[in-house]
Amino acid sequence: MTIIAEYGTVLIALACIFGFFMAWGVGANDVANAMGTSVGSGALTIKQAIMIAIVFEFAGAYLAGGAVTATIRKGIIDPGILVGTPELLVFGMMASLLAAGVWLLVATHYGWPVSTTHSIVGAIVGFAAVGISVEAVAWGKVGSIVASWVVSPVIAGGLAFMLYRSVQKLIMDTADPFANAKKYVPLYSFLVGFVISMVTFTKGLKHIGLELSYGESAFYSIVAGVAVALLAKYLQRNITQSKEENVDFHFTSVEKVFGVLMMFTACAMAFAHGSNDVANAVGPLAAVVSIIGAGGEVAQKSSMPSWILLLGGGGIVAGLVMYGHKVIATVGTGITELTPSRGFAATLAAATTVVIASGTGLPISTTHTLVGAVLGVGIARGLGALNMQVVGTIFMSWIVTLPAGAGLAILFYFILKGIFGG
């Protein structure tokens, strides 16, 4: 108790720095995967992608990130065990932030595919199991999180498969693909608007004081979907097809129509990423702030101050602006095969999966979900070639990331404990 009273301000300041560092890392690297598909498909310029990322990452974190933050903050560790020694939880959460941030930095430097989600969960479980006690970890919850890591790419893959098959059936495989693209793209846009707002309305808005019934949520989501559809119709009004551009690839004009749709799915993806990965980054910070703010109570019910999300969002934006555009440029220009129609199917499937996971409070990996979705398009025989070796590496990486995050967290935990005493 005395440690918290004595060093409270210092600890909060440190935790803020670590949290910002972690969010910065997410912004500098992880966002690129989320936005790269949109830039790669030629639907967005890098500048547009960054603008969309800034706005929608932030909105996602603020509007739909609450449940994931809560899981990270108090779902993985059983707070009951720590009532007497809240400072241990403070050290642990700070150590986890630092561990995940450092691991992200190291891995990015060497070009290893890592997931922020896996590193932060690994870090928290690691410090709790070793630094406190094995019973301190809510293993049931951890089990369901790990299960969701397996399930989410599969679900995203299934969704992407169905979406791309529907594109093939309704648009590509018809007598007049261009006319059908114009007809169905607003419908797909409706889907984008509806899914995102439905999850936000049902799961996300409680903490800003907006309680909606299920029926109301559905109604407002339909309104939002229709609005997006109308916007799509408006944006695609000037797209025409010309014979010359379709000589080489007959669907060039069709893909231009899908470019409009891709803009919306890029927003959805940024929103989804914000709701899950930003929430990961600020979860431990929220835990530290709430414990210290309550004067050492391991509070269960305290609400999350919005400035924490602001800090997380700020860190992401800083990372994006400083490094993100370079990463998006490399990610984006490498993917020539990802036309807007394919990019849309993969991105929307991933975004939907991630947003639903965010709504249920499951921290999942956006990158892995997106990889699953891209494979789904591939299984629909819709992609020229996918490198399965790289896919294998990406999925293997989370097995490596867990012990690495845990090890670093344990190290930092004992260092912090040594510095501040405890």
Binding site: N33, G40, A175, G378, G382, L383, N387, S397
Partner: protein, 226 residues
């Protein structure tokens, strides 16, 4: 901080575009046979040599493209079509270029002259073979559309129709080849026997250009059938 993103590396270079470039290059080789034969018929050996060099250069370029496709097709790729079928298709495409080069090479090397009596039929034979190879290019241009539609539905029928046309063109080329052989048989005794033998060989090889182009079509059909 900016490193290679693994996510990006997941998207391997699609073989579709290089395959299309390759057959266009192979067809460019075959196409040169028309001006080449015109030069030979006019006994303009200087011009024939220029064109033969051009064919050789084009064939080298096709070889480079072929190697590029092969180098980018490791076993770990996940593609909408079997890798072996694709490589087989590539091999067939490449043989169009090879045969064209052989024809030009042997004719120039031996300064082979075509008797005036069969000059017109010879030129028709060459033009017919080039038309078959042109149709193979047209069919292969649909490969990216096939990938976009997942090798299903209308696009498959479109390509199947193209392959039917290809077979028809090859059949016509066969008929013309028979006519040419017949006409040449009538006057073969007037030529030195060795020259006559080699001219039969050339007729044969020009026919093979058409044959290879048709083979490209049948390999493409293998990709559709699944």
């Amino acid at each position: 901080m900016v490193a290679n993103s693994s996510f990006m590396q997941m998207f391997a270079k699609s073989p579709v575009k290089p395959m299309q470039q390759h057959i266009e290059k192979a067809h460019a080789c075959a196409m040169e046979l028309i001006p080449f034969f015109e030069a030979v018929l006019a006994k303009d050996w200087q011009q024939a040599e220029v064109i033969q060099k051009r064919i050789t250069t084009l064939e080298h370029e096709a070889d480079t493209l072929k190697r590029g496709v092969r180098a980018h097709l490791p076993k770990s790729l996940f593609m909408p079509v079997p890798r072996t079928d694709l490589l087989e298709l590539l091999r067939m495409q490449d043989r169009i270029a090879n045969k064209a080069k052989d024809v030009a090479g042997i004719m120039l090397g031996r300064r082979m002259e075509v008797p005036d009596a069969i000059a017109e039929l010879m030129l028709a034979h060459v033009t017919g073979a080039v038309a078959v190879s042109q149709q193979a290019v047209t069919a292969l241009n649909e490969l990216d559309e096939l990938v976009a539609t997942g090798f299903r539905g209308r696009e498959v029928s479109v390509v199947e129709k193209m392959i039917d046309d290809l077979d028809q063109l090859e059949h016509e080329a066969d008929v013309r080849e028979k006519e040419l052989r017949h006409a040449f048989f009538a006057l073969e005794k007037e030529l030195p026997p060795i020259d006559a033998m080699f001219l039969y060989k050339v007729i044969d090889w020009v026919g093979e250009v058409a044959d290879r182009a048709q083979q490209v079509g049948s390999r493409l059909q293998l990709l559709l059938a699944r």
